[in-house]
């Protein structure tokens, strides 16, 4: 049988984000997957250079609406390192609480959406119903459901009192109970296990070779978590486990997230119990000295890196962002090989793709001054042959 090219996207029912995959298929079998990214390119890195450091908090938050807290957290970290700004301990604990709530809602969102992709709509509705409890908590602390602008340079914007802390504790204990039930479903229900077990294998060697990050790497049995390896804020003081599964398939990657939800709940409960007293932010610093700084955090999807170069003044000279999905998409092309067409959405869902995050890079040909965007595969092809880009 001849090889057929199957085009998946950019507007398609599986995910609510535009991207395109070009699959070379032989009958039902996928031979090669070629991602074409760039539909969500909004020129954010260039916009960073036109705005002030304070305005950029709000821009960095809108790189990705799902992991927005992770983005502001990394951004304020990089500014605080460049300006040598010290953050009060209470603010550090509050940042951890909100970052973990963000991880909870992001993982629940993915696990629900994937249940729908597998045709298990009941589970999707149940998970999203329970996710609203987390959204309520985020609203209680920050004032908005999704994008909240909670982190700011030198601290956080709002404080919590004992009433709020009690409410958070009460809701989280209930959510924990529910997730123990959901975990049973994810481990035992044949609707899930037969669709995900043994599908989309990524061996630990390949995972390291293609530099995947976050739950995808941990699903391949590699113990790597920025919160443990290079603690930021107060993660060094909080006891938690790094979840790994070593079956290397889609199921392992989903189970890492299920277990991380339970770990995150424990982190928040610990942080609430050990919340120090004191102020929540320092006076705002608007001007930075000439400095270069680097910050990384564990976003819900993996390692998120910001690299700032400041020449002094109110605006950055250059701010580079490297998001987890950009690292994971190359790993996904390996997972697709040899799988069936029907398994494509399940495998794609297992890397928790967030295309809003990754579509920021452009390649500029200095000779002609023309800028154009390339998919990662085109980059490999063009540059490995040593031809001109």
């Amino acid at each position: 049988m001849s090889i057929i090219e199957l085009i998946f996207g950019p507007q398609h029912p599986a995910l609510h984000e535009p991207e395109m995959f070009r699959f070379h298929v032989d009958g039902e079998k996928v031979i090669e997957a070629i991602p074409r990214i760039g539909y969500v390119h909004r020129g954010i890195e260039k916009l960073f250079e036109q705005k002030t450091h304070v305005q950029n908090i709000y821009l960095s938050e809108r790189i990705c609406g799902i992991c927005n807290v992770a983005h502001t957290l990394t951004y304020v970290n990089v500014i605080e390192r460049a300006g040598d700004i010290d953050v009060p301990p209470r603010a550090k604990y509050l940042r951890v609480i909100v970052a973990e709530l963000n991880r909870l809602h992001s993982h629940m969102l993915l696990l629900g959406a994937v249940a729908e992709l597998m045709g298990f709509t009941t589970l999707f509705m149940l998970i999203w119903r329970d996710r609203e409890k987390i959204m309520d908590l985020v609203e209680l602390i920050t004032g908005n459901r999704v994008i909240s602008a909670y982190n700011t340079i030198g601290g956080v914007r709002r404080d919590i009192d004992s009433d709020k802390a009690d409410k958070i504790r009460k809701v989280l204990l209930k959510v924990e109970e529910e997730w123990k039930e959901y975990k049973k479903t994810w481990m035992e229900d044949p609707t899930i296990t037969r669709r995900t077990m043994g599908v989309g294998i990524l061996k630990p060697r390949d995972a390291l070779k293609y530099c995947v990050v976050g739950p995808v790497l941990r699903g391949s049995g590699v113990k790597s978590d920025v919160r443990k390896d290079d603690p930021y804020e107060v993660y060094g003081d909080i006891p938690f486990n790094v979840v790994t599964y070593d079956t290397c398939d889609s199921w392992a990657r989903y189970m890492v997230r299920v277990d991380e939800i339970l770990e995150s709940i424990n982190i928040i409960l610990y942080a609430l119990d050990n919340l120090p007293q004191g102020e929540i932010r320092r006076p705002l610093v608007r001007r930075l000295p000439e400095a270069e700084a680097f910050a990384k955090t564990e976003a819900p999807r993996g390692e998120l890196v910001y690299h700032l170069y400041s020449k002094g003044g109110f605006k950055p000279y250059r701010l580079k962002v490297r998001t987890p999905t950009f690292a994971n998409i190359l790993g996904a092309t390996i997972m697709f090989k040899g799988e069936r067409i029907a398994d494509i959405p399940v495998i794609l869902g297992s890397i928790d793709p967030c295309f809003a995050c990754e579509d920021r890079h452009t390649i500029v040909d200095l000779r002609s001054g023309k800028s154009f965007m390339l998919s990662s595969r085109e980059i490999t092809r063009k540059f490995s042959r040593g031809s001109k880009p």
Binding site: Y39, R42, R62, I66
Partner: protein, 147 residues
């Protein structure tokens, strides 16, 4: 279109408007709020609203995002593929004027520059209640018989 036929179309649209969700380069915040509006807490399916995968099945196009230059031709193509009568709801502040992405080299700063819009739902992101209000406003518009 005769007025009698128009009445029937308006009546059927009012009872079961099927939507197509299109992300024209948004940050996902509006998209997850649209999805949240479909789930049990808010449940827009009680109005007969259902997400469809193909533009040929849809009556209402729900657009999010500031429309990137990559997505502009795709947005126009999808709008053209939808059968008449068709309506557009633009969700989020960046669909109105670009919001934080205003002035970027790669966005259009507003859905209205690509396709005509019937209802704007501002907010960054708008709450699911606001999105439902946007639908209610559109239904009023349909019942009044405006295009």
């Amino acid at each position: 279109m005769s007025s009698f036929l128009g009445k029937i179309i308006r009546w059927s649209l009012r009872r079961s408007p099927w939507i197509l969700h299109f992300n024209s380069g948004s940050c996902n915040a509006c998209d997850i709020e649209i999805l949240a509006a479909l789930t049990p807490r808010f449940d827009v399916e009680r109005f007969g609203i259902k997400i469809k995968a193909s533009p040929r099945h849809a009556d209402i196009l729900v657009v999010t995002g500031p429309v990137t230059k990559q997505q502009e031709p795709r947005l126009k193509r999808i709008y053209e593929q939808m059968p008449e009568p068709k309506y557009v709801i633009a969700v989020g502040t960046c669909t109105t004027w670009g919001s934080v992405f205003h002035g970027s080299y790669s966005t259009l700063d507003g859905v209205y520059k690509a396709i005509p819009v019937d209802v704007y739902v501002p907010g960054c992101p708008p709450r699911p209640e606001a999105i439902i209000l946007g639908f209610a406003k559109l239904f009023e518009k349909i019942e009044r018989g405006e295009d």
